[in-house]
């Protein structure tokens, strides 16, 4: 085996060794080592690993108990405020009688106030009625205010659904129209309503129904698709199958996506919180597997960071195009280990690296465009390019894609000229390897 005998001080990454035949030869060694850590081995909770028909449910009492946990200070403040206002006479207790009621109402008794509802959008009616997706059960409830003075129902919400329901009748598209004489005005439709005669209340109702909605987070969409495939055995929905396939990779690799509200599991290193980016890999499963494996190999005890997805993803794209085996020992030894050593030594974690990279790219972009840094955008692959430039600067010998030459302008120089001078250890090491 070759024995290291000396180091060429002018080129720190070259060591001179004895070959077996006794001749001296120069051998490349990357100047920084990545120090691997032992995984803590947290047990992964695979919430979505389910069998057909395996449901998870809870009672209202359980949910109520969850709400009243003393930690939920915002909820307790809200209740306290109600009680104070009622006790002080500033507010009345809300009446149960004002809860919505339900009735089948003839169309002729419904009034659409154009100042309350938006203009009719025929395209939206067509979208709701799209034969590929339409299901009667999911038609919205027609929401109205019943004016006791005029005996009319003033439409507040779902006018497009109402018009679609009537239009289906006039086109003879309903299978089971009962007591319908062909006059759309006579058609009965399901209406939920509250009694009042103030149009101002209608306007407020419209805003409440259309304005304040808790957005559906990506995790919920992913979960729905996976469960449709696994629990409901839906084999027609292609997206469900894709979600299941990607989820299987997560499980095989020891990861599990979690909801942003899942505080119990947020602490674990196996939890995937960047779910939207994960879902962007439904059609790129091999890329996703590489992202997870790379993360697990180098950073087993911390959570996958959103920045790692693009970083490892672009590495995968570029080196796959160049026909390298990204799971080989050679690729790890010559490229990935040195790259991760750079991240670990100078930026602590991939998140720290991405954060620094954003600053470097913005300074470069600002010099190029003259815009202030906070107005400069960064490239999706910018962090990958930055890392490859550092790797090359410190003597990395693996073949690199031509993208490494991006972010270099004759007028302003290379991206590496814009590193953060606060990063003293990086600056010192870079200077010892010559200016970029």
């Amino acid at each position: 085996m070759a024995k290291t005998i000396t180091k060429d001080e002018t080129i720190p990454s070259i060591v001179i060794t004895n070959s077996r035949k006794g001749k001296l030869r120069k051998e490349w060694i990357f100047p920084f080592n990545f120090e691997f850590v032992t995984p803590t081995g947290e047990k992964v909770i695979h919430t979505l690993k389910r069998k057909p028909g395996e449901y998870i449910s809870s009672t209202v009492a359980e949910k109520l108990s969850q709400l009243t946990d003393p930690k939920n200070t915002k909820w307790h403040s809200t209740v306290a405020k109600w009680k104070e206002d009622i006790a002080a006479g500033r507010k009345d207790k809300p009446s149960r009688k004002m809860r919505v009621q339900y009735k089948m109402v003839q169309v002729k008794n419904i009034v659409i106030d154009d100042d309350v509802q938006r203009d009719l959008d025929p395209n939206w009616v067509a979208t709701i009625g799209n034969p590929n997706e339409f299901e009667t059960e999911f038609m919205s409830t027609i929401y109205c205010m019943f004016d006791p003075n005029t005996k009319k129902y003033i439409s507040i919400n779902a006018q497009h659904t109402l018009i679609l329901e009537v239009a289906f009748a006039t086109n003879d598209l309903w299978d089971d129209l009962e007591n319908y004489n062909g006059d759309p005005d006579e058609l009965y439709v399901p209406v939920t309503f509250f009694p009042d005669s103030s149009r101002a209340k209608c306007r407020k109702g419209f805003q409440v129904f259309n304005g304040k909605q808790k957005a559906i987070e990506p995790y919920v969409n992913h979960k729905m698709l996976v469960l449709a495939y696994r629990v409901d055995v839906d084999r027609k929905d292609k997206d469900a199958e894709k979600a299941h396939n990607l989820q299987t990779i997560n499980e095989d690799e020891g990861f599990e996506p979690i909801s942003k509200d899942d505080k119990k599991n947020k602490k674990y290193s196996w939890a995937i919180t960047c779910v939207s980016e994960m879902m962007g890999h439904y059609d790129r499963l091999d890329r996703w597997r590489f992202v997870l494996r790379t993360h697990k190999r180098y950073w087993p005890n911390i959570q996958l960071d959103i920045a790692e997805i693009d970083l490892y993803g672009f590495i995968y794209d570029y080196f796959k195009d160049m026909k390298y085996d990204m799971y080989s020992n050679e690729f790890n030894d010559k490229f990935l280990n040195p790259c991760m050593a750079i991240i670990w030594k100078f930026f602590t974690t991939p998140h720290g690296f991405a954060s620094d990279s954003a600053g470097v790219q913005k300074r470069f972009s600002s010099a190029k465009t003259g815009l202030p840094e906070d107005k400069c955008k960064i490239d999706d692959n910018g962090s990958c390019v930055y890392l490859m430039k550092l790797y090359r600067h410190f003597g990395g010998q693996h073949e690199l894609p031509l993208y490494v030459n991006n972010l270099n302008e004759t007028r302003i120089g290379d991206l590496l000229n814009y590193i953060d001078t606060d990063r003293e250890s990086l600056v010192e090491e870079m200077e010892s390897y010559g200016n970029p």
């Binding site: 915002k74 505080k263 947020k266 911390i302 974690t349 953060d420 990063r423």
Partner: protein, 151 residues
């Protein structure tokens, strides 16, 4: 402009008590800063009483910023919320103690395998007293063994 980077991570246990149900509790928190003296004075000024850091960690290469970020993730279930917003204080309903929090921080430091060191006991609790003026980045980086010890 470069993001302001921090070299110190602190643990604070308030000098004052909060009423929690029928009991009174101090509040446990953490944070990062580049000037622990200024930071502890801010806590004191805004709370109306002298505050102190029970533990103080330092890393020349800003590693503490990543330690804090990981700590925040790990504390998600113990995190205090004010008006629905998560803050860098431990919930008064959490059973997490000061020792638990310190152990968590030190586990993260070990996990990252980075040269984060803690300020020696003789300089703690840190309250920006005159005899603690020596605790700054420059001194610590020049004489790490004088002021800090390994975690």
């Amino acid at each position: 402009m470069a993001t302001r980077k921090k070299k110190f991570l602190y643990v604070i246990l308030t000098a004052h008590y909060f009423k929690v149900g029928d009991t009174f509790k101090k509040r446990l928190g953490y944070g990062v800063t580049d000037d622990p003296g200024m930071r502890v004075r801010k806590y004191s000024n805004t709370s109306g009483g002298e505050q102190e850091f029970v533990e103080l960690y330092h890393s020349p290469n800003y590693d503490v910023m990543e330690v804090e970020r990981i700590l925040k993730q790990q504390l998600s279930d113990d995190c205090h919320t004010i008006n629905g917003e998560e803050v860098e204080w431990i919930s008064p309903y959490s059973s997490l103690t000061t020792t638990d929090l310190i152990n968590m921080i030190e586990d993260i430091i070990h996990g990252l395998n980075k040269p984060v060191r803690k300020v020696k006991k003789q300089f703690l609790p840190f309250k920006d007293a005159e005899w603690q003026d020596v605790i700054d980045s420059e001194n610590i980086e020049l004489y790490p063994n004088e002021y800090t010890e390994t975690v």
